[in-house]
């Protein structure tokens, strides 16, 4: 079975491009050109050079000794938190802005939840001298103030999304409306592995540098390319898609996805889509999505703004449905404690999103000989206020 996208834009029954006609010319242009553009030698050279000299890649694969001792298994951390701008998001924004330039676009729009994708987009827009507008839910603007300040300093305009739950879903709606209103000069840099085809595949390809590096880094350290498990947190699923990509068709590698359970999967305040979602259409793709029996999209909840999304990318919906991926749900409390534990044991403060991935160590027992690679997708600087509030530090 293939876990990659097929030529019609589907992963199994998930994916496609369920978009209003107003978006068709832009999405179709992208669909026709993204593979060709990203395969050009000049594109690859520019992309790789920026990842190396600007982002600081390769990001280290770090053996977490004290964490490994505590859980009696071999744990490696893929240090996406050390990237310029503090998370994996920049891998994709670099790729997409290079595509946007080649499409002749002058104006960039983006949505953001935690603000990491907004910062990564504002950063590459500053780098390339392009106009940048970032849509962000009003609630998220309040809980991610440092990232809002960064975006403004980088020259981006941050526009609050005031509808619905005023979080990531609504920011995405507003960005899509902006694109409808500006169909000629604008490129929409989607930050997650969601949206109409070709976005999930394009974002996944740009993020796949994560698993590409894991392979050769692990070969150096362990003498083998394939770990026993790769673990990542999932909101829309971009860091997870990149972490899994080169292991999808390696059956000996277990794929572990960690979703935000918020206050508990069945508490009514959760973002655990694989448990609570049904097949539906959101933001241009068919995927698993949290909704009422009547097909209205449910307001999700997570303490982590980056996981506070009612759907998952179509690739992940397919991994969940086929059983190729093993999905776990982690509550706010479990994630916060896992984040504090990583800080105390390894001296690394993770983003609250990434902290969810670490909480799986308390839910799944690994063997002492297992090599487990956990994607440390972002750093926790932006979450200091949340950590301080939560732990009364």
């Amino acid at each position: 079975m293939s876990y990659n996208v097929n030529e019609k834009g589907y992963y199994g029954e998930f994916g496609g491009a369920y978009i209003p006609e107003m978006l068709y010319p832009n999405v179709e242009e992208l669909r026709q050109k993204y593979l060709e553009i990203t395969a050009e030698p000049e594109f690859k050279a520019e992309f790789n050079q920026l990842l190396k000299d600007y982002v600081g890649r390769p990001s280290p694969l770090y053996f977490a000794k004290r964490l490994s001792e505590k859980y009696n298994t071999k744990i490696y951390l893929k240090r996406e938190d050390l990237n310029h701008t503090g998370a994996h998001k920049v891998n994709n924004t670099i790729g997409q802005i290079l595509v946007a330039k080649r499409l002749g676009k002058k104006r960039i729009i983006a949505e953001t939840g935690a603000g990491q994708h907004g910062v990564a987009t504002a950063t590459v827009c500053a780098l390339m001298g392009m106009d940048c507008i970032v849509y962000m839910g009003e609630i998220d603007i309040a809980r991610q103030a440092p990232n809002v300040a960064r975006m403004k300093m980088l020259g981006a305009e941050v526009r609050p999304a005031l509808s619905g739950s005023r979080t990531l879903k609504d920011a995405t709606n507003e960005a899509i409306r902006d694109w409808i209103n500006n169909p000629v000069d604008t490129h929409y840099i989607i930050g997650s592995a969601i949206g109409p085809h070709p976005y999930p595949d394009m974002v996944t390809r740009f993020q796949s540098i994560i698993s590409e590096e894991i392979k050769w880094q692990l070969k150096e350290k362990e003498g083998r390319e394939n770990p026993d498990y790769v673990v990542a947190c999932i909101g829309g699923g971009s860091n997870a898609a990149g972490t899994y990509y080169h292991f999808l068709h390696e059956p000996e590698v277990g794929i572990i996805a960690v979703e935000a359970a918020g206050k508990g999967v069945n508490s009514g305040h959760s973002a655990a889509t694989s448990k609570l979602g049904k097949v539906g259409v959101i933001h241009g793709c068919k995927t698993l999505l949290m909704q009422t029996p009547d097909g209205q999209i449910t307001e999700p909840y997570s303490i982590s703004a980056g996981l506070d999304y009612p759907g998952v990318g179509p690739m992940h919906a397919h991994l969940a449905q086929t059983g190729r991926g093993e999905f776990f749900s982690v509550t706010d409390d479990e994630a916060m404690n896992a984040g504090l534990q990583l800080t105390k044991l390894e001296g690394i403060i993770p983003a609250i999103e990434s902290a969810h991935a670490f909480a799986v160590l308390d839910q799944k027992k690994f063997k002492p000989t297992d090599v487990v690679v956990i994607s440390l997708s972002g750093r926790g600087d932006k979450d200091l206020d949340n950590y301080i509030d939560y732990f009364k530090l």
Binding site: Y18, M22, Y24, S163, N181, H283, D294, G295
Partner: protein, 253 residues
């Protein structure tokens, strides 16, 4: 013959009105439809509210949200409309996003529409290619017309394709925008209306988005068969409640 096709054969410009079902109050739906027909409206688009209406501007977003807060659901709308054909003769179209229809079951949804006497559907986020491959047979089985959108950016080739798949009218979006977001048409729109008019498509075109008064209605229908008013009518409902519908219609023509 489908009521839409019949209406399109009449020698007149079509004035169509959109409103969100369940707005301003849950049980206003039937009364609004009846009043619109009495006021001389030619066709009605009944909006099935959705939590995340991507193609809609603030006015219709707000009316959808209110309708959902009022308790509107797909089933309640069908229940409200079950006897509509005892009192209303003009064509009725349901306009809504795809996800609620998918959850109801596309075939069950179409069957219910046919039972009630709904004549067509407008589903902005169901692309014409997916429709042609997966759903056209079902729509045809229940005699429902599915209406597709075109915009100033739609290529001629795609317009011809949409024309070939369509069997009623083409919904011509006046300009690159979400609903309710402009005032007045300029030369660009005129040129676009004219360009499409001169393509000699088999389906007549009805213009939507940005029609708010007699001036924009007349501009839009200079080349097209008709026009649709949405946000401006919802604003009228918001300010005047569901009475005085006739007064609104009189300001248009």
């Amino acid at each position: 013959m489908n009521r839409i096709s019949q209406k399109l054969q009449e020698d007149k410009k079509i004035l169509s009105i959109y409103f969100s079902a369940g707005y301003p109050s849950l049980n206003d739906t039937v009364q609004i439809i009846q009043d619109l027909e009495k006021s001389g409206i030619d066709m009605i688009e009944i909006g099935l509210p959705f939590s995340d209406p991507l193609a809609d501007g603030p006015t219709i977003q707000a009316s959808s949200t209110t309708a959902l807060q009022n308790g509107m659901t797909t089933q309640i709308l069908f229940d409200q409309l079950k006897d509509i054909r005892k009192s209303v003769n003009i064509p009725l179209v349901i306009m809504g996003y795809f996800n609620p229809m998918l959850q109801y079951g596309v075939e069950a949804f179409c069957q219910k529409c046919a039972e009630i006497g709904i004549d067509g559907l407008i589903i902005p986020d169901l692309p014409v290619d997916v429709y042609a491959d997966e759903y056209k047979a079902t729509f045809d089985k229940y005699g429902l017309i599915n209406v597709f959108l075109i915009t100033p950016q739609t290529s001629e080739e795609r317009i011809r394709f949409i024309d070939s798949v369509s069997d009623g009218f083409i919904y011509m979006v006046s300009s690159a925008s979400v609903t309710g977001s402009q005032s007045g048409f300029g030369n660009t729109q005129e040129a676009y209306f004219k360009r499409i008019g001169e393509m000699n498509l088999k389906n007549p075109q009805i213009v939507g988005f940005g029609i708010s008064n007699a001036e924009t209605f007349n501009q839009a229908t200079q080349y097209a068969k008709g026009a649709i008013i949405g946000s401006a009518f919802i604003t009228h409902l918001k300010e005047n409640g569901s009475s005085k519908i006739g007064e609104f219609v009189k300001t248009i023509r």
